[in-house]
Amino acid sequence: MGKFSRLACVTRLIKLIHKYGAPKRFYELAGTLTPWFASLTTLLFVSGLYLGLYWAPPDYQQGNAYRIMFVHVPNAWMSMMAYVAMALFAATGYIWNVRLADILAKATAPLGASFTLTALVTGSLWGKPMWGTYWVWDARLTSELVLFFLYVGYMALQASIDDPRRAAHASAILAIVGVVNVPIIHYSVYWWHTLHQPASLTLTSQPKIYITMLIPLIIMSLGFMFFYLTMLCVRTRSEILWRERRTDWVRKLVESRS
């Protein structure tokens, strides 16, 4: 009996995935969501930047230079979160042959790469006046650079194979293997002596950031999260259109627009 109902649950879930996972349905769903995500992103960015750059007080040691963290920290978080999302999408597409998951993984890669690059560049600009150097080969900085190369490698592999199914399968393996790097980035500051400071925000202890500085940081983080969702919808929609360009529904859509 228990086994039967569990099976029914799984079947229902798969039906649901197939319903909304059909590229056409997702194209419509993402189209409805995009303007909402985009306006939320704008609202969060404007208020987060205002609070971070004007309202938050200067730091007792770094003065105003610390304000770069309102961009650096959210991008560093998103670089790792986007990678985990990409690996999960890629694995879903690989294991269960969900075409939409392949597309979502492919759409995530350049976004994740740009989060990673922004985190590296802003960190480097902060590092020169504060640490005394733009770059050091410590465990945190090196593993984050490896993350950037993983994204770039994934994109290169995608681009080098013409058949989308084969491209998705080959790059899925790379994405899944690379996920090992994410906990290494996170724990690098605890496992090894690094120049990079440990996390100021953890789930288990009290934040080491004063509340008036923490609020803008959280708003900016949510902003970058919704920025990711917005861009994911936009990129996925255009990829769906390209892949389904020979189907009837895309033809009809194009005709109705022109």
Binding site: P57, P58, Y60, Q62, A91, G132, V179, L195, M213
Partner: protein, 147 residues
């Protein structure tokens, strides 16, 4: 369904295998991945005896002596300490009681010639007035504990 299960197992086993491999590599290179050595490690002979390496710790209070561009200060891990000589520009966050990482050579038992000084930043962020308030209350607590 069987094919899908096969692929699921392949992904899980593969991921586990890669994790173990990476863990073994990181364990093997543990000592090479260290960005700096503490004064205690240096005095115990764990740092390279010849050549360039990095020394990290806290700049001891009242130990900074400046003479033009030349600076002398003591780096401590609260158990042992080493005297560092450095000529050049110091980063903004270099101050007493703060973390520092210096690169250079050991020239005596407890003397170090640095060619680069990097300031290590802590994880704390707060406004100046809160920091001053915190300092005052800490001092008051210490006083109360002493009396």
């Amino acid at each position: 369904m069987r094919k899908q299960n096969k692929r699921l197992v392949f992904v899980l086993v593969g991921l586990a295998g890669v994790s173990v491999a990476v863990w073994l590599v990181l364990t093997a290179f543990r000592h090479n991945l260290v960005f700096f050595y503490s004064p205690t490690q240096v005095l115990e002979g764990k740092a390279p005896s010849h050549g360039v390496f990095r020394l990290g710790g806290i700049v001891e209070k009242g130990s900074i002596k400046k003479d033009g561009l030349h600076t002398t200060f003591t780096v401590t891990d609260l158990r042992h300490s080493m005297v560092v000589h450095y000529t050049g520009i110091l980063p903004d966050l270099f101050r007493q009681g703060q973390g520092v990482v210096v690169q250079g050579r050991r020239v005596g038992t407890t003397t170090f010639m640095a060619s680069q000084v990097l300031a290590k930043h802590g994880a704390n962020y707060m406004p100046p007035d809160v920091a001053a308030e915190l300092k005052r209350s800490m001092a008051a607590k210490a006083k109360a504990a002493l009396s």
